[in-house]
Amino acid sequence: MLSALHAEFQKAHRRHDLAICLVVPVVVFLWTGRLTSNDPEELANAYSALLYALPVLNAILMPVVMALLASRLWDIEVKGSTTKLLYTLQSRRSLFAAKAAFGIGEVVLMVALEMGAAVLLGRTQHYTEALPVGQLFYLGGCTLAVDVMLYLSELLLMLAWENPLPALCVSIVGALVGLFSAFMPPIVSYFVPWGYFVPLSSYEVAVWDQETHTVLYGTRPFNWGLLAFTAALAAVLFAAVWRMMRDKEV
Protein backbone atom coordinates (compact mmCIF):
# COMPACT_ATOMS: atom_id res chain seq x y z
CA MET A 1 0.00 0.00 0.00
CA LEU A 2 2.77 2.45 0.96
CA SER A 3 4.74 1.72 -2.19
CA ALA A 4 1.56 2.20 -4.25
CA LEU A 5 0.98 5.54 -2.54
CA HIS A 6 4.60 6.47 -3.19
CA ALA A 7 4.00 5.65 -6.87
CA GLU A 8 1.00 8.01 -6.88
CA PHE A 9 3.21 10.78 -5.47
CA GLN A 10 5.74 10.12 -8.22
CA LYS A 11 3.01 10.27 -10.87
CA ALA A 12 1.85 13.57 -9.40
CA HIS A 13 5.35 15.01 -9.80
CA ARG A 14 5.09 18.05 -12.12
CA ARG A 15 1.35 17.45 -12.49
CA HIS A 16 0.79 20.61 -10.43
CA ASP A 17 -2.04 19.15 -8.36
CA LEU A 18 -0.93 21.36 -5.47
CA ALA A 19 -1.50 24.42 -7.65
CA ILE A 20 -5.07 23.24 -8.32
CA CYS A 21 -5.62 22.77 -4.58
CA LEU A 22 -4.35 26.32 -4.12
CA VAL A 23 -6.38 27.93 -6.92
CA VAL A 24 -9.69 27.07 -5.25
CA PRO A 25 -8.99 28.98 -2.00
CA VAL A 26 -7.58 31.87 -4.02
CA VAL A 27 -10.78 32.09 -6.09
CA VAL A 28 -12.86 31.84 -2.92
CA PHE A 29 -10.73 34.55 -1.30
CA LEU A 30 -11.14 36.92 -4.25
CA TRP A 31 -14.81 36.22 -4.73
CA THR A 32 -15.93 36.47 -1.12
CA GLY A 33 -13.53 39.36 -0.48
CA ARG A 34 -15.52 41.35 -2.98
CA LEU A 35 -18.77 40.73 -1.11
CA THR A 36 -17.80 42.66 2.01
CA SER A 37 -17.55 46.45 2.23
CA ASN A 38 -15.98 48.60 4.94
CA ASP A 39 -19.36 49.45 6.43
CA PRO A 40 -19.13 48.82 10.23
CA GLU A 41 -22.55 47.17 10.27
CA GLU A 42 -21.49 44.73 7.55
CA LEU A 43 -18.17 44.01 9.27
CA ALA A 44 -20.04 43.17 12.46
CA ASN A 45 -21.95 40.53 10.51
CA ALA A 46 -19.20 39.59 8.10
CA TYR A 47 -18.27 36.05 9.21
CA SER A 48 -21.94 35.11 9.10
CA ALA A 49 -22.18 36.53 5.57
CA LEU A 50 -19.02 34.67 4.58
CA LEU A 51 -20.16 31.33 5.99
CA TYR A 52 -23.53 31.84 4.29
CA ALA A 53 -21.88 32.55 0.91
CA LEU A 54 -19.22 29.81 0.98
CA PRO A 55 -21.60 26.86 0.43
CA VAL A 56 -23.06 28.58 -2.66
CA LEU A 57 -19.57 29.13 -4.06
CA ASN A 58 -18.71 25.52 -3.28
CA ALA A 59 -21.83 24.36 -5.14
CA ILE A 60 -20.55 26.17 -8.25
CA LEU A 61 -16.87 25.23 -8.02
CA MET A 62 -16.52 21.91 -6.27
CA PRO A 63 -18.31 19.53 -8.67
CA VAL A 64 -15.96 20.63 -11.46
CA VAL A 65 -12.90 20.62 -9.17
CA MET A 66 -13.69 17.09 -7.95
CA ALA A 67 -14.09 15.90 -11.55
CA LEU A 68 -10.78 17.59 -12.29
CA LEU A 69 -9.00 15.76 -9.45
CA ALA A 70 -10.53 12.40 -10.38
CA SER A 71 -9.65 12.95 -14.01
CA ARG A 72 -6.04 13.92 -13.19
CA LEU A 73 -5.67 10.80 -11.09
CA TRP A 74 -7.10 8.25 -13.54
CA ASP A 75 -6.55 9.86 -16.95
CA ILE A 76 -2.80 9.30 -16.60
CA GLU A 77 -3.46 5.54 -16.67
CA VAL A 78 -5.85 5.84 -19.61
CA LYS A 79 -3.48 7.95 -21.69
CA GLY A 80 -0.50 5.77 -20.90
CA SER A 81 -2.53 2.56 -21.37
CA THR A 82 -1.02 1.40 -18.11
CA THR A 83 -4.11 -0.18 -16.58
CA LYS A 84 -3.30 -3.67 -17.90
CA LEU A 85 0.20 -3.38 -16.50
CA LEU A 86 -0.99 -2.12 -13.12
CA TYR A 87 -3.74 -4.70 -12.81
CA THR A 88 -1.25 -7.50 -13.37
CA LEU A 89 1.83 -6.19 -11.54
CA GLN A 90 0.24 -5.05 -8.29
CA SER A 91 -2.79 -6.02 -6.29
CA ARG A 92 -5.95 -4.18 -7.27
CA ARG A 93 -6.60 -3.48 -3.61
CA SER A 94 -3.34 -1.52 -3.26
CA LEU A 95 -3.96 0.37 -6.52
CA PHE A 96 -7.45 1.36 -5.40
CA ALA A 97 -6.32 2.22 -1.87
CA ALA A 98 -3.52 4.44 -3.20
CA LYS A 99 -5.80 6.26 -5.66
CA ALA A 100 -8.50 6.77 -3.04
CA ALA A 101 -6.05 7.87 -0.33
CA PHE A 102 -4.19 10.26 -2.63
CA GLY A 103 -7.40 11.82 -3.98
CA ILE A 104 -9.03 12.16 -0.58
CA GLY A 105 -5.77 13.62 0.77
CA GLU A 106 -5.92 16.30 -1.92
CA VAL A 107 -9.55 17.03 -1.02
CA VAL A 108 -8.64 17.36 2.69
CA LEU A 109 -5.82 19.75 1.78
CA MET A 110 -8.13 21.83 -0.39
CA VAL A 111 -10.83 22.10 2.27
CA ALA A 112 -8.24 23.03 4.92
CA LEU A 113 -6.85 25.74 2.64
CA GLU A 114 -10.36 27.02 1.91
CA MET A 115 -11.18 27.30 5.60
CA GLY A 116 -7.79 28.97 6.13
CA ALA A 117 -8.64 31.44 3.36
CA ALA A 118 -11.89 32.28 5.18
CA VAL A 119 -9.99 33.06 8.40
CA LEU A 120 -7.36 35.02 6.48
CA LEU A 121 -10.09 37.05 4.79
CA GLY A 122 -11.52 37.95 8.19
CA ARG A 123 -8.10 39.11 9.36
CA THR A 124 -7.21 41.12 6.26
CA GLN A 125 -10.61 42.81 6.02
CA HIS A 126 -10.76 43.48 9.78
CA TYR A 127 -14.04 41.70 10.50
CA THR A 128 -15.38 42.83 13.85
CA GLU A 129 -17.59 39.77 14.36
CA ALA A 130 -15.98 37.09 16.54
CA LEU A 131 -14.79 34.09 14.53
CA PRO A 132 -17.43 31.36 14.96
CA VAL A 133 -14.95 28.50 15.34
CA GLY A 134 -17.57 25.79 15.86
CA GLN A 135 -19.50 26.89 12.76
CA LEU A 136 -16.29 26.99 10.75
CA PHE A 137 -15.39 23.42 11.75
CA TYR A 138 -18.92 22.26 10.95
CA LEU A 139 -18.73 23.93 7.54
CA GLY A 140 -15.32 22.34 6.96
CA GLY A 141 -16.67 18.91 7.89
CA CYS A 142 -19.71 19.28 5.63
CA THR A 143 -17.62 20.57 2.73
CA LEU A 144 -15.22 17.65 3.15
CA ALA A 145 -18.04 15.09 3.25
CA VAL A 146 -19.72 16.45 0.11
CA ASP A 147 -16.40 16.86 -1.69
CA VAL A 148 -15.34 13.28 -0.96
CA MET A 149 -18.74 12.00 -2.10
CA LEU A 150 -18.47 14.00 -5.35
CA TYR A 151 -14.84 12.94 -5.87
CA LEU A 152 -15.76 9.25 -5.56
CA SER A 153 -18.73 9.65 -7.91
CA GLU A 154 -16.47 11.28 -10.51
CA LEU A 155 -13.84 8.56 -10.07
CA LEU A 156 -16.56 6.01 -10.68
CA LEU A 157 -17.51 7.74 -13.92
CA MET A 158 -13.86 7.91 -14.96
CA LEU A 159 -13.48 4.17 -14.38
CA ALA A 160 -16.71 3.33 -16.13
CA TRP A 161 -15.96 5.27 -19.34
CA GLU A 162 -12.15 5.47 -19.42
CA ASN A 163 -12.68 8.95 -20.83
CA PRO A 164 -12.88 12.15 -18.79
CA LEU A 165 -15.59 13.74 -20.94
CA PRO A 166 -18.65 12.10 -19.28
CA ALA A 167 -17.28 12.87 -15.81
CA LEU A 168 -16.63 16.50 -16.71
CA CYS A 169 -20.02 16.88 -18.45
CA VAL A 170 -21.79 15.43 -15.41
CA SER A 171 -19.86 17.78 -13.13
CA ILE A 172 -20.73 20.90 -15.15
CA VAL A 173 -24.40 19.94 -15.36
CA GLY A 174 -24.29 18.94 -11.67
CA ALA A 175 -22.84 22.32 -10.70
CA LEU A 176 -25.62 24.08 -12.61
CA VAL A 177 -28.35 21.92 -11.05
CA GLY A 178 -26.74 22.23 -7.61
CA LEU A 179 -26.62 26.00 -7.89
CA PHE A 180 -30.24 26.20 -8.99
CA SER A 181 -31.34 23.88 -6.20
CA ALA A 182 -29.97 26.46 -3.73
CA PHE A 183 -32.64 28.89 -4.90
CA MET A 184 -35.46 26.36 -5.09
CA PRO A 185 -37.74 25.24 -2.24
CA PRO A 186 -35.55 23.46 0.39
CA ILE A 187 -37.03 20.02 -0.30
CA VAL A 188 -35.67 20.15 -3.88
CA SER A 189 -32.10 20.53 -2.66
CA TYR A 190 -32.27 17.16 -0.88
CA PHE A 191 -32.54 15.45 -4.27
CA VAL A 192 -29.47 17.15 -5.75
CA PRO A 193 -26.25 15.75 -4.22
CA TRP A 194 -24.04 18.22 -6.14
CA GLY A 195 -25.65 21.04 -4.20
CA TYR A 196 -25.64 19.45 -0.72
CA PHE A 197 -23.31 22.24 0.42
CA VAL A 198 -26.32 24.56 0.70
CA PRO A 199 -28.86 22.49 2.72
CA LEU A 200 -25.99 21.44 5.00
CA SER A 201 -25.15 25.08 5.72
CA SER A 202 -26.12 26.29 9.18
CA TYR A 203 -26.55 29.93 8.16
CA GLU A 204 -29.68 31.50 6.73
CA VAL A 205 -30.98 34.95 5.95
CA ALA A 206 -32.90 36.09 9.03
CA VAL A 207 -33.79 39.62 7.95
CA TRP A 208 -33.75 41.06 4.46
CA ASP A 209 -34.84 44.66 4.03
CA GLN A 210 -35.16 45.22 0.31
CA GLU A 211 -35.40 49.01 0.61
CA THR A 212 -32.34 49.59 2.79
CA HIS A 213 -30.46 46.59 1.37
CA THR A 214 -29.91 45.34 4.90
CA VAL A 215 -29.28 41.64 5.37
CA LEU A 216 -28.98 39.98 8.77
CA TYR A 217 -27.94 36.37 9.05
CA GLY A 218 -29.06 33.86 11.63
CA THR A 219 -28.13 30.27 12.34
CA ARG A 220 -30.18 27.12 12.22
CA PRO A 221 -29.45 23.75 13.83
CA PHE A 222 -26.71 21.61 12.29
CA ASN A 223 -28.15 19.22 9.72
CA TRP A 224 -26.64 16.00 11.15
CA GLY A 225 -29.15 13.81 9.32
CA LEU A 226 -28.13 15.05 5.87
CA LEU A 227 -24.46 14.96 6.84
CA ALA A 228 -24.83 11.30 7.86
CA PHE A 229 -26.66 10.59 4.59
CA THR A 230 -23.84 12.27 2.64
CA ALA A 231 -21.26 10.16 4.48
CA ALA A 232 -23.31 7.04 3.75
CA LEU A 233 -23.55 8.00 0.07
CA ALA A 234 -19.78 8.49 0.01
CA ALA A 235 -19.33 5.04 1.59
CA VAL A 236 -21.60 3.45 -1.05
CA LEU A 237 -19.68 5.18 -3.83
CA PHE A 238 -16.39 4.09 -2.24
CA ALA A 239 -17.61 0.49 -2.35
CA ALA A 240 -18.84 0.93 -5.92
CA VAL A 241 -15.48 2.30 -7.09
CA TRP A 242 -13.64 -0.57 -5.40
CA ARG A 243 -16.02 -3.12 -6.91
CA MET A 244 -15.58 -1.64 -10.37
CA MET A 245 -11.79 -1.65 -10.08
CA ARG A 246 -11.77 -5.17 -8.65
CA ASP A 247 -14.03 -6.64 -11.36
CA LYS A 248 -12.68 -4.76 -14.36
CA GLU A 249 -11.51 -7.00 -17.18
CA VAL A 250 -7.84 -6.75 -18.08
Partner: protein, 244 residues
Amino acid sequence: MLKRCIVAENRKLHASPIWAMFVVLPLISAGYGTFNYLQNLEILTEQWYSLWTQHTLFYSMLFFPAMVSAYAAYLWRLEHMGHNWNLIMAVPVRPFDLFLAKFLVVVKLMCFTQVFVYILYLVCGRLFAGFTDWPPVSTLFFMLRGVLGGLAVAAAQLVLAMLIRSFAVPIFLGLVGGIMGMLLGSKGFSLLWPYCLMQQGMNANRSEDMLAGNAVPFLLACAGWLAAVFVIAGVVLEKRDVKA
Protein backbone atom coordinates in the same frame (compact mmCIF):
# COMPACT_ATOMS: atom_id res chain seq x y z
CA MET B 1 -6.75 22.24 -46.77
CA LEU B 2 -8.68 24.20 -44.18
CA LYS B 3 -11.88 22.62 -45.48
CA ARG B 4 -10.45 19.12 -45.01
CA CYS B 5 -9.37 20.02 -41.49
CA ILE B 6 -12.91 21.20 -40.72
CA VAL B 7 -14.36 17.96 -42.10
CA ALA B 8 -11.97 16.00 -39.86
CA GLU B 9 -12.92 18.01 -36.81
CA ASN B 10 -16.61 17.59 -37.54
CA ARG B 11 -16.09 13.84 -37.75
CA LYS B 12 -14.87 13.84 -34.13
CA LEU B 13 -18.26 15.13 -33.03
CA HIS B 14 -20.19 12.18 -34.47
CA ALA B 15 -21.97 10.31 -31.64
CA SER B 16 -19.94 12.28 -29.13
CA PRO B 17 -21.13 12.62 -25.51
CA ILE B 18 -20.61 16.36 -25.92
CA TRP B 19 -24.08 16.58 -27.51
CA ALA B 20 -25.66 15.46 -24.24
CA MET B 21 -24.23 18.51 -22.51
CA PHE B 22 -25.26 20.69 -25.46
CA VAL B 23 -28.88 19.65 -24.90
CA VAL B 24 -29.03 19.33 -21.12
CA LEU B 25 -27.30 22.53 -19.97
CA PRO B 26 -29.57 25.01 -21.81
CA LEU B 27 -32.63 22.92 -20.89
CA ILE B 28 -31.82 23.15 -17.16
CA SER B 29 -31.00 26.83 -17.46
CA ALA B 30 -34.31 27.50 -19.22
CA GLY B 31 -36.32 25.36 -16.79
CA TYR B 32 -34.87 27.09 -13.75
CA GLY B 33 -35.12 30.54 -15.37
CA THR B 34 -38.78 30.10 -16.16
CA PHE B 35 -39.53 28.70 -12.69
CA ASN B 36 -37.73 31.59 -11.02
CA TYR B 37 -39.49 34.13 -13.23
CA LEU B 38 -42.91 32.71 -12.37
CA GLN B 39 -42.05 32.70 -8.66
CA ASN B 40 -41.02 36.38 -8.66
CA LEU B 41 -43.59 38.06 -10.85
CA GLU B 42 -44.02 40.93 -8.38
CA ILE B 43 -40.33 41.94 -8.77
CA LEU B 44 -39.75 40.88 -12.37
CA THR B 45 -42.16 43.15 -14.16
CA GLU B 46 -40.59 43.59 -17.58
CA GLN B 47 -41.96 40.44 -19.16
CA TRP B 48 -39.68 39.25 -22.00
CA TYR B 49 -36.67 41.23 -20.69
CA SER B 50 -37.11 39.84 -17.18
CA LEU B 51 -37.46 36.32 -18.53
CA TRP B 52 -34.27 36.84 -20.58
CA THR B 53 -32.29 37.79 -17.47
CA GLN B 54 -33.54 34.72 -15.61
CA HIS B 55 -32.75 32.39 -18.51
CA THR B 56 -29.25 33.65 -19.18
CA LEU B 57 -27.79 34.98 -15.90
CA PHE B 58 -25.93 31.93 -14.59
CA TYR B 59 -25.57 30.47 -18.07
CA SER B 60 -23.61 33.41 -19.46
CA MET B 61 -21.54 34.11 -16.35
CA LEU B 62 -20.47 30.65 -15.27
CA PHE B 63 -21.58 27.79 -17.42
CA PHE B 64 -21.08 29.11 -20.94
CA PRO B 65 -17.27 29.37 -20.45
CA ALA B 66 -17.18 25.88 -18.92
CA MET B 67 -19.26 24.48 -21.78
CA VAL B 68 -17.13 26.11 -24.49
CA SER B 69 -14.06 24.84 -22.62
CA ALA B 70 -15.45 21.31 -22.83
CA TYR B 71 -16.03 21.72 -26.59
CA ALA B 72 -12.47 22.98 -27.05
CA ALA B 73 -10.82 20.38 -24.80
CA TYR B 74 -12.72 17.60 -26.54
CA LEU B 75 -11.42 18.65 -29.96
CA TRP B 76 -7.80 18.75 -28.74
CA ARG B 77 -7.97 15.57 -26.66
CA LEU B 78 -7.29 13.26 -29.58
CA GLU B 79 -4.15 15.18 -30.55
CA HIS B 80 -2.78 14.75 -27.02
CA MET B 81 -3.14 10.95 -27.19
CA GLY B 82 -0.16 8.80 -28.16
CA HIS B 83 2.03 10.39 -30.84
CA ASN B 84 -0.75 12.22 -32.65
CA TRP B 85 0.98 15.58 -32.24
CA ASN B 86 3.85 14.29 -34.40
CA LEU B 87 1.32 13.06 -36.91
CA ILE B 88 -0.70 16.24 -37.28
CA MET B 89 2.35 18.50 -37.38
CA ALA B 90 3.79 16.36 -40.17
CA VAL B 91 0.71 16.49 -42.42
CA PRO B 92 0.92 18.92 -45.35
CA VAL B 93 -1.33 21.51 -43.73
CA ARG B 94 -0.43 24.91 -42.34
CA PRO B 95 -0.28 24.47 -38.55
CA PHE B 96 -2.55 27.45 -38.04
CA ASP B 97 -5.21 25.80 -40.22
CA LEU B 98 -5.42 23.01 -37.64
CA PHE B 99 -6.21 25.59 -34.99
CA LEU B 100 -8.55 27.56 -37.23
CA ALA B 101 -10.54 24.44 -38.13
CA LYS B 102 -11.04 23.62 -34.47
CA PHE B 103 -11.99 27.22 -33.79
CA LEU B 104 -14.63 27.21 -36.53
CA VAL B 105 -16.10 23.94 -35.28
CA VAL B 106 -16.27 25.26 -31.70
CA VAL B 107 -17.92 28.43 -33.03
CA LYS B 108 -20.43 26.28 -34.88
CA LEU B 109 -21.26 24.43 -31.66
CA MET B 110 -21.44 27.74 -29.81
CA CYS B 111 -23.88 29.16 -32.39
CA PHE B 112 -26.05 26.04 -32.16
CA THR B 113 -26.08 26.39 -28.38
CA GLN B 114 -27.03 30.06 -28.52
CA VAL B 115 -29.83 29.37 -31.00
CA PHE B 116 -31.08 26.53 -28.81
CA VAL B 117 -31.03 28.85 -25.78
CA TYR B 118 -33.05 31.40 -27.73
CA ILE B 119 -35.58 28.82 -28.94
CA LEU B 120 -36.07 27.63 -25.36
CA TYR B 121 -36.51 31.24 -24.25
CA LEU B 122 -39.14 31.75 -26.92
CA VAL B 123 -40.99 28.52 -26.12
CA CYS B 124 -40.92 29.09 -22.35
CA GLY B 125 -42.12 32.66 -22.78
CA ARG B 126 -45.07 31.70 -24.95
CA LEU B 127 -46.05 28.42 -23.29
CA PHE B 128 -45.22 28.81 -19.61
CA ALA B 129 -44.93 32.52 -18.91
CA GLY B 130 -48.09 33.11 -20.95
CA PHE B 131 -46.81 35.99 -23.10
CA THR B 132 -49.09 36.60 -26.03
CA ASP B 133 -46.70 38.81 -28.01
CA TRP B 134 -43.24 38.03 -29.43
CA PRO B 135 -39.97 38.93 -27.70
CA PRO B 136 -38.38 42.30 -28.52
CA VAL B 137 -35.88 42.25 -31.38
CA SER B 138 -33.23 43.51 -28.97
CA THR B 139 -33.13 40.10 -27.27
CA LEU B 140 -32.16 38.61 -30.62
CA PHE B 141 -29.30 41.10 -30.75
CA PHE B 142 -28.31 40.15 -27.20
CA MET B 143 -27.99 36.58 -28.37
CA LEU B 144 -25.92 37.56 -31.41
CA ARG B 145 -23.71 39.81 -29.29
CA GLY B 146 -23.22 36.86 -26.96
CA VAL B 147 -21.82 34.90 -29.91
CA LEU B 148 -19.46 37.77 -30.77
CA GLY B 149 -18.31 38.02 -27.15
CA GLY B 150 -17.91 34.26 -27.00
CA LEU B 151 -15.48 34.15 -29.96
CA ALA B 152 -12.55 35.29 -27.82
CA VAL B 153 -13.51 32.79 -25.10
CA ALA B 154 -13.58 29.97 -27.65
CA ALA B 155 -10.19 30.98 -29.05
CA ALA B 156 -8.63 31.38 -25.59
CA GLN B 157 -9.95 28.01 -24.48
CA LEU B 158 -8.62 26.37 -27.63
CA VAL B 159 -5.16 27.79 -26.89
CA LEU B 160 -5.35 26.53 -23.29
CA ALA B 161 -6.55 23.09 -24.41
CA MET B 162 -3.76 23.02 -27.00
CA LEU B 163 -1.05 23.88 -24.47
CA ILE B 164 -2.33 21.84 -21.52
CA ARG B 165 -2.34 18.13 -22.18
CA SER B 166 -4.91 17.42 -19.49
CA PHE B 167 -8.54 17.35 -20.58
CA ALA B 168 -9.99 18.67 -17.34
CA VAL B 169 -7.63 21.52 -16.43
CA PRO B 170 -8.68 23.86 -19.31
CA ILE B 171 -12.33 23.31 -18.35
CA PHE B 172 -11.59 24.29 -14.77
CA LEU B 173 -9.66 27.32 -16.03
CA GLY B 174 -12.67 28.23 -18.18
CA LEU B 175 -14.89 28.21 -15.11
CA VAL B 176 -12.34 30.30 -13.18
CA GLY B 177 -12.14 32.66 -16.18
CA GLY B 178 -15.93 33.10 -16.05
CA ILE B 179 -15.81 33.86 -12.32
CA MET B 180 -12.99 36.38 -12.83
CA GLY B 181 -15.03 37.88 -15.67
CA MET B 182 -17.99 38.29 -13.35
CA LEU B 183 -15.81 40.02 -10.72
CA LEU B 184 -14.05 42.29 -13.22
CA GLY B 185 -17.32 43.09 -14.99
CA SER B 186 -18.86 44.27 -11.73
CA LYS B 187 -15.89 46.66 -11.32
CA GLY B 188 -16.40 48.09 -14.81
CA PHE B 189 -13.41 46.41 -16.49
CA SER B 190 -15.48 44.37 -18.89
CA LEU B 191 -13.47 45.08 -22.01
CA LEU B 192 -10.18 44.11 -20.41
CA TRP B 193 -10.90 40.41 -19.98
CA PRO B 194 -12.24 38.17 -22.77
CA TYR B 195 -14.54 36.21 -20.48
CA CYS B 196 -16.43 39.42 -19.64
CA LEU B 197 -17.31 40.11 -23.25
CA MET B 198 -19.85 37.33 -23.57
CA GLN B 199 -21.50 38.38 -20.31
CA GLN B 200 -21.71 41.98 -21.51
CA GLY B 201 -23.01 40.98 -24.92
CA MET B 202 -25.75 38.79 -23.50
CA ASN B 203 -27.00 41.59 -21.25
CA ALA B 204 -27.90 38.94 -18.73
CA ASN B 205 -28.21 40.82 -15.47
CA ARG B 206 -30.28 43.88 -16.20
CA SER B 207 -33.19 44.93 -18.38
CA GLU B 208 -31.62 48.08 -19.83
CA ASP B 209 -28.96 47.62 -22.50
CA MET B 210 -25.50 47.47 -20.85
CA LEU B 211 -23.86 48.30 -24.17
CA ALA B 212 -26.06 51.30 -25.05
CA GLY B 213 -23.67 53.76 -26.73
CA ASN B 214 -20.71 51.45 -26.16
CA ALA B 215 -21.14 49.04 -29.03
CA VAL B 216 -18.01 50.18 -30.86
CA PRO B 217 -15.60 49.66 -27.91
CA PHE B 218 -17.27 46.26 -27.34
CA LEU B 219 -16.77 45.23 -30.97
CA LEU B 220 -13.19 46.50 -30.93
CA ALA B 221 -12.49 44.56 -27.74
CA CYS B 222 -13.97 41.40 -29.27
CA ALA B 223 -11.84 41.82 -32.40
CA GLY B 224 -8.74 42.78 -30.39
CA TRP B 225 -8.90 39.82 -28.02
CA LEU B 226 -9.62 37.43 -30.87
CA ALA B 227 -6.67 38.75 -32.88
CA ALA B 228 -4.37 38.57 -29.85
CA VAL B 229 -5.30 34.96 -29.15
CA PHE B 230 -4.92 34.02 -32.83
CA VAL B 231 -1.43 35.53 -32.87
CA ILE B 232 -0.48 33.57 -29.74
CA ALA B 233 -1.88 30.35 -31.24
CA GLY B 234 -0.06 30.98 -34.54
CA VAL B 235 3.27 31.70 -32.86
CA VAL B 236 2.99 28.69 -30.55
CA LEU B 237 2.13 26.34 -33.40
CA GLU B 238 4.90 27.65 -35.64
CA LYS B 239 7.71 27.97 -33.12
CA ARG B 240 7.10 25.49 -30.32
CA ASP B 241 8.53 22.00 -30.50
CA VAL B 242 6.10 19.12 -30.32
CA LYS B 243 6.06 17.27 -27.02
CA ALA B 244 4.52 13.90 -27.76
